[in-house]
C-alpha cells in the first residue's frame, strides 16, 4: 500500500510547479479534447467548402458573378432552382400532413404497438436509399403494382404515368422521408405528460381546440426539427430525382453533378452555393420557429 508518507517526499518538489498562483487562465484539459475533431473538420470540411465558395466566383480567368448569372438567370439554371424548392416544399408539406397525425396516433397507442411502429419506421430510414428508390421504380412502372391496382379497382382505364413525373417523384419522396418527420415529433410528444390532454378536456376543451391549443404548440419543436431535416435532405437528394424523374427534370443537385461531368467546376460550385444557401435559410427559419415556441412555453 502506498502511504502518503511514502509518496510525498518525491512529490513535494513538484507541487510548486503544479499549482501556479497568479495564472488566471488555466486551460481546462477537457477543452483540448475538441481539438482533433475540430481540426479535422476544419481541414477536411470547412476548407474544401471555402475553396468551393471561392471557386464559384471564378470565371474567364478572373473574379466575376458570371456563374451565378448562369445559375439564376439562365432558364435551365432557374428551372433547377425552382424545381428544387417546389419539390422539397411539397415533400415537406406532405410529411407534416401525414407525419404529425402518425406521431400523435403513436403516442396514444400501447407500448407494444409503439415498438412495432418504431421498428417499422427505423428500418426503412436506415436502409439503403438506392434500394428504396429502386423499389419505387418498380412500383411506378406502367405495369407496376400501383397501376394494376388502380385499373383493377376501375379508378382508371389506362395506366397513369407516375415514373418520370413530378407528382410521382413527390409521392415517392414523401414515403422515403416520412420517418424523418414522424420520429422527432414522436420524441417530443412522448415527453408530454398524458394528463395534459385530459386536463384540457376537463376544462371543457373540444378535440379541435385541444389539438390547436395543446398538442400542436407542444409538438412544434419536433415539427421544426423534422421540417429542417426533411427539407434539407429532399433538396439535397440526387439519386431519388435521377432515378424517379429522369433527365428532363433538372434540380440543383443534378445540375451540380452535370457541371462536374462537363468539367465546369466553377459553375458546379455556384450551383452548390445556391443549394447551400437555400437549405441554410430553411433550416435557420425552422430553427427559429422551434425556438420561439420553446421560449413561449
Amino acid at each position: 500500500m502506498t502511504s502518503v508518507a511514502e509518496t510525498v517526499p518525491g512529490r513535494a518538489s513538484t507541487s510548486v510547479h503544479e499549482r501556479r498562483p497568479g495564472i488566471r487562465h488555466r486551460i481546462d484539459p477537457w477543452q483540448l479534447l475538441v481539438l482533433p475533431a475540430s481540426a479535422y473538420l476544419l481541414l477536411a470540411f470547412a476548407a474544401p467548402l471555402a475553396v468551393m465558395f471561392a471557386e464559384s466566383f471564378h470565371a474567364g480567368g478572373g473574379l466575376s458573378l458570371a456563374n451565378y448569372d448562369r445559375v439564376l438567370m439562365d432558364s435551365r439554371g432557374l428551372q433547377a432552382t425552382a424545381n428544387t424548392v417546389r419539390y422539397a416544399s411539397w415533400v415537406t408539406f406532405g410529411c407534416v400532413l401525414l407525419g404529425v397525425p402518425t406521431a400523435m396516433a403513436m403516442v396514444r397507442a400501447s407500448s407494444r404497438t409503439q415498438m412495432i411502429v418504431l421498428i417499422g419506421m427505423l428500418l426503412p430510414m436506415s436502409s439503403s436509399i438506392v434500394v428504396k428508390s429502386f423499389g419505387w421504380m418498380i412500383l411506378f412502372r406502367r405495369t407496376g403494382l400501383i397501376n394494376e391496382t388502380l385499373m383493377w379497382l376501375g379508378v382508371v382505364s389506362a395506366p397513369v404515368a407516375l415514373l418520370f413525373t413530378e407528382h410521382g417523384l413527390i409521392i415517392a419522396t414523401i414515403s422515403l422521408k416520412l420517418p424523418l418527420m414522424v420520429l422527432p415529433v414522436f420524441a417530443v410528444l412522448s415527453q408530454i405528460p398524458g394528463q395534459l390532454g385530459d386536463a384540457a378536456t376537463t376544462l371543457g376543451a373540444g378535440p379541435v381546440y385541444r389539438f390547436r391549443r395543446v398538442t400542436l404548440p407542444l409538438a412544434l419543436p419536433g415539427i421544426a426539427v423534422g421540417f429542417a431535416i426533411v427539407f434539407s435532405q429532399t433538396a439535397a437528394s440526387y439519386l431519388i430525382p435521377t432515378l424517379l424523374a429522369g433527365g428532363r427534370y433538372p434540380t440543383l443537385s443534378k445540375s451540380i453533378v452535370e457541371s462536374y461531368i462537363v468539367s465546369n467546376a466553377a459553375l458546379g460550385s455556384a450551383f452548390s452555393v445556391v443549394l447551400l444557401v437555400t437549405v441554410g435559410v430553411v433550416v435557420w427559419l425552422s430553427g427559429r420557429l422551434g425556438k420561439d415556441h420553446q421560449s413561449a412555453r
Binding site: 479534447l33 404497438t113 451540380i256
Partner: protein, 267 residues
Amino acid sequence: MKRNLTLLKAFARGLWLTLALLIVNAPLIIVLLVSLSSSPIFDLPREGLSLRWYAKVFQLDSIAGPLLTSLQLALSATAVSLVLGTACALGLSRSRFPGRDLLVTGVLSPMMLPGVVIGIALLFYLRALGITNSFLSLFIAHVVITLPYIVRITLAGLSLFDFALVDAARTLGYPPVKAVIKVLVPNLAPSFVSAAVFAFLASFDNYAIALFVGDIYTVTLPIQIINYLSVSTDPVVAAIAVILLFGTLVSLLITERLVGLQRLAGG
C-alpha cells in the same frame, strides 16, 4: 355508446398507423417480392417463388469487390470517427467556452449539408492538394460524414452521465486519464454501440461522395448497384437489396437490445 366510440377511435388509430407503415415500407416490400420472383425481369412473383437470384448474387464477381470496398470504408471511417467524435463530445460536454454552441453547430453540420456538395468540394480540394488515391479520398470524406452521428449520439449519452463517478475513481486511486477510461467506457457502451451502428450505416449507404471521389478501381456497393441498375434488368439487384436490408435489420435489433429504440428516436 361511449365504449363504442373509444373502440372506434382505437380502430381508426390502428388503421392509420398500418397505412403509414405501409407507405413507408412499400418500396422494401416490393423489393422483397421481386427478389423472390422466378421471372427473369423485374416483376412480382406471379409464376411462383424462387431463390435463384439469391444464388446468383454469390456467383457475381462484380459485387464482391465493391462490397469489400464499402465494408472496409465503413469500418475504418467509423473507427476513426469514434475516436475523434468521442473525444470531441467529451470536450463539449465538460467545458464551457465562448463559441461552444457555434462549434457544436459546426461539428454537426455535415449531417445537414447536401452530400453532393461535400463530395464536389472535397474532390477539388483533394485534387489541389495532390491526393489522388481514391480510397484515401473516400476515407477522408466518410470520416466527415460519420463524425456528426458519433458526436450527436455520444453527446446525448454524456448528458446523462454523472461525472462525479470519474472523481470517485480518482480518489480511489486511478490517475485522471485512466479514471475516465475505467468509468466512462463501460457506462457509455450503449451510446458507443448505437453511434457506431448509425455511423456505419451512414457510410455504407452513402453514394453522393463516391459519385465524385471514387474511380473505376474503387467502386463502393451503392455505386455498383446504381451501375448495375442502368445496364441490367434482372432481379439480382433486388436480391442484393434484400440482403442489405437484412443486415440493417440485424444491426437495428442489436442496437435495440443494447440501447432501446425509444432513445434513438429522440437522439
